[in-house]
């Protein structure tokens, strides 16, 4: 008989569990709980998206299945399960089947390193409210989230459809361009935290103020890049209904299409969670600095979970809000924004922030009120410069951008004589 003390031995609630068995059980419990909540949340998000889009467009949205349409996602799920799976004759079947899986799994996997509440003390030891507390947390997210693009590219290629292929191509180009500025924009955060574990980033923000206050520009770049990474409007080029039918998932039906759909929302949740963690203090309860050193309690866990959920939901709403506000960019505008503006901006920002940190350190100013206020002042100056001067009087890759100047001058001369410009009708 195995003594139960080996599996679940009583331990100090404030310290991590000593036994490996407890750790495994904790992890399994967390995995099941997080997976369940995540999948139901994603299902409800599809409803939320449709509802919000409806309200923004002065409609009602789905309201037939259950009160307020709450059963709609489950009706959709059922429909997708029952539907016939179609395989295009010319599709390369193994990859065609693999693609939705490849885009679905990374979307789920990234979530597992995001801390979503303060540690929960139990009688078997402290339970960290993160499925896997990896020491390389942030790098893991960058690595896995960029795998999602393989699903899209393979789907586009394996469908053997020109629209799907174009969607896949655009997706890969877009991901590569924005992955770089996404990574670059987080370097100032890591510089401030001095560590890549998400927990230490949260701790740093609890003491030094949320990063959005100190590193607004990094947040802005991250936000724009996150929209591109999750293929959401105004950067939904892989789908681009008006140009590419449905882009990479043109040929997919039933549950395979549903997997792409779930993956999109799962990516959105992960991107929102990342923004919350990196720039909005994660589960840190605002205006308290003591909540991430012990003693922990169940109430604190609950409170921080609610705070995290509130921040997360705000960003999910923000994603939808933007989607139903902005139209899609043109493809060359997307590229030019990514390479000519976002990337240089992110690089310059790293240098400025690194410089400020170096100056502060050589001056002997450690983390504290002085440090935060200097960072704040620098931040205000940078925001003023970028959002008033750099954003003013410029068009990203205008339609005439590719014309030669001589030809452009001739066209402009024609335009100036046209009734449209002179106001005289013939």
């Amino acid at each position: 008989m195995i003594p139960h003390s080996l599996l679940l031995q009583a331990a100090n609630p404030q310290l991590p569990p000593a036994g490996g068995g407890t750790f495994v059980i904790f992890t399994v419990v967390k995995m099941i709980a997080v997976f369940t909540v995540y999948m139901i949340g994603v299902a409800l998000l599809t409803l939320a998206e449709r509802k919000i889009s409806a309200w923004i467009q002065d409609r009602h949205g789905p309201n037939r299945v259950g009160p307020g349409g709450i059963g709609q996602p489950f009706a959709d799920g059922l429909k997708n399960f029952m539907k016939e799976e179609t395989y295009p004759e010319a599709a390369y079947k193994p990859l065609f089947i693999l693609a939705p899986i490849l885009s679905f799994i990374p979307a789920l996997t990234t979530w597992c390193v995001i801390p979503f509440a303060s540690p929960l003390p139990t009688r078997w030891g402290r339970m960290d409210m993160v499925v896997a507390d990896l020491p390389v947390g942030f790098l893991f997210i960058l690595a896995i989230s960029s795998l999602g693009v393989y699903g899209i590219v393979l789907a586009g290629w394996a469908s053997n459809n020109k629209y799907a292929l174009l969607g896949g191509l655009r997706s890969s180009a877009q991901m590569i361009s924005y992955e770089i500025s996404l990574g670059m924009s987080t370097i100032p955060v890591l510089l401030l935290a001095g560590n890549v574990t998400l927990n230490s980033i949260i701790t740093q923000q609890a003491y030094g103020g949320w990063n959005v206050v100190n590193l607004t520009l990094a947040f802005f770049i991250f936000l724009v890049a996150a929209f591109a990474e999750t293929n959401r409007l105004p950067f939904d080029f892989p789908e681009a209904e008006s140009e590419l039918i449905a882009g990479y998932h043109t040929e997919y039906s039933a549950m395979k299409f549903s997997l792409f759909f779930i993956a999109e929302y799962a990516n959105m949740v992960t991107a929102s969670a990342l923004m919350v963690t990196l720039f909005f203090g994660g589960w840190d309860v605002p205006f308290t600095a003591r909540d991430n050193i012990g003693p922990f309690s169940g109430w604190l866990t609950l409170l921080s979970l609610v705070i995290f959920a509130a921040k997360l939901l705000f960003f999910l709403f923000f994603f939808m809000w933007i989607r139903w506000t902005l139209p899609r960019f043109r493809y060359d505008q997307l590229m030019s924004l990514g390479w000519k503006i976002m990337l240089p901006l992110a690089l310059a920002y790293i240098i400025v922030i690194a410089g400020v940190i170096l100056v502060l350190e050589t001056a002997g100013i450690g983390p504290g009120a002085m440090y935060s206020s200097i960072m704040g002042v620098v931040n205000i100056v940078i925001v003023m410069v970028v959002f008033t001067i750099l954003d003013h009087g410029r068009i990203i890759s205008p339609a005439y951008g590719r014309l030669e100047s001589v030809r452009l001058a001739r066209l402009r001369a024609v335009a100036a004589r046209s009734p449209l410009a002179t106001g005289v009708s013939r």
């Binding site: 923004i56 002065d58 066209l411």
Partner: protein, 165 residues
């Protein structure tokens, strides 16, 4: 290379992406919190249709329940879509009545001429639009069906009262 594309100067001095985005977000948020919902929740709520709506036909009846139609033949004559089939009959007293009176609602263009031309005010176009059927044959309304309809009938346009007051 685009040849005939007109390139007009945009007022580049005033362009600001961030400002424009925030402005647009403000607009959508205003609609989100205060939507002007105009959708009619159809099966439960129904749209008030105009008194001059011309829908599927209805044959009015006398007090005895017989169709008012005297089979004069004016409506099939005036019908531009040729959708009314009329076979007149005559009873012992010499009164004409329709033996067969059928309207093919698929051919009908709902012009309302039949109602205007009818001397007995028997055939009317109705204020009605829920006409789904399972077969094409179901859209050929015979006399029995036309008299059994109960929906309100159209008030034709009156030249003396053009606004329907």
């Amino acid at each position: 290379m685009a040849i005939n594309v007109k390139v007009l100067d945009r007022p580049v001095e005033d362009v600001s992406y961030v400002k424009a985005t925030l402005k647009g977000m403000g607009l959508t948020l205003r609609h989100l919190v205060n939507p002007h919902k105009v959708t009619v929740q159809y099966p439960e709520e129904k749209w008030q249709i105009s008194p001059r709506w011309r829908g599927t036909h209805r044959m009015l009846t006398t007090e005895t329940g017989k169709a008012k139609c005297v089979a004069c033949g004016l409506c099939p004559t005036v019908c531009p879509a040729n959708c009314i089939k009329l076979v007149p009959g005559e009873d012992e007293e010499g009164n004409r009545y329709p033996l067969i009176f059928e309207i093919d609602e698929f051919r009908c263009i709902f012009c309302g001429y039949c109602q205007e031309v009818c001397p007995e005010e028997a055939i009317h176009v109705g204020r009605h639009y829920e006409n789904a059927e399972y077969s094409r044959a179901g859209f050929v309304y015979d006399l029995e069906r036309l008299t059994a309809q109960t929906h309100p009938v159209c008030e034709m346009w009156d030249p003396d009262d053009p606004k329907g007051e």
